[in-house]
Symmetry: C2
Subunit: 111 residues, 2 copies
Amino acid sequence: MTRAATTSDAFNAVAEPRRRDILNYLAMQERSVTEIVDAMEIEQSSVSKHLKVLKGVGLVEVRREGRLMFYHVNAMAIRPLHEWTSTFERLWRHQLLRIKERAEAIHRQKQ
Amino acid sequence: MTRAATTSDAFNAVAEPRRRDILNYLAMQERSVTEIVDAMEIEQSSVSKHLKVLKGVGLVEVRREGRLMFYHVNAMAIRPLHEWTSTFERLWRHQLLRIKERAEAIHRQKQ
DNA sequence: TTGACATATTCCCATATGAGAATATATTGA
DNA sequence: TCAATATATTCTCATATGGGAATATGTCAA
C-alpha cells in the first residue's frame, strides 16, 4: 500500500501545513479564493487545489456569489480529530501531575 | 515543494492510519515490538519503520529490556494537535446550538 | 458578443512514502 | 563460540503529492 491519500480523511487533509494555514484563516470568517490567495504565499492554482482537498473531506464548504466563491470552515469535520486526541488527554494530565509533584518534592527538599 | 515529510511534525506522523492504530494500542500500556506486530496486520519491518517515525516526532519513547524494546506513548506530543483542534471548538458548538434550536422550532410548530 | 475578472483544471517534475523481502545488528543462553 | 530470538535497516517498486505555469471554464458588464 502507498501513503494514505490526502483526501482519505481529515487527519490526512490537515497534515499539510498550508491547509492548516487556510483553515486558521477561515476560522475568523468566510473568505473568497482571492482573499485566501492574498493571505497565503502560494499561487492561486495551489490554493484552489488545497481547497479542493479540504472540501473533499468536508472541512470546508463553499457558497457562490456571482463570480466569487466564498469558502468557510465546517468545524464539525474537525471534531473526530479533537476526539481522537482527547483519548490521550488522561495520559498527559497524569504526566503533568507527576512533573508537578516532582517539582514540589524538590522544593520541599531545598527548604 | 513536495509533500510534507511524515517526520516533520505530529500532524504528519498521525496522518498515517497504521500509526494511529499503533498509538491507540500503546495508549493502554507499554508494549514490545513483537506484541505490536502481533496486534497489527503488517510486517515487522513496517512496524519498526512506523515506530521510527513516531519516535522521530516524539510521539513514542522506548525502553530496552534485554532483547526487547518496549514502546510507550508520550502523550504530551499529542497536545499540540489537541490544542489546534480546540481552536475550532467554539465554531462547532455554535453549529450544534443552531441545529438544536432549529429542531426545537420544528417541534414547536408541530404542536 | 466581447473582454475582464475569478476560479478550477491540467501538465510536468522532483520527491518521499509504505509495503514486503531480505539482510544486518544486537542480545541472550547454552 | 554458536544458534536463536528480537528488532532495525536496506532494497525495490508503485504511487500520490505539491508546486508553478499554462490553460480552461464560468460569470459579469458593457
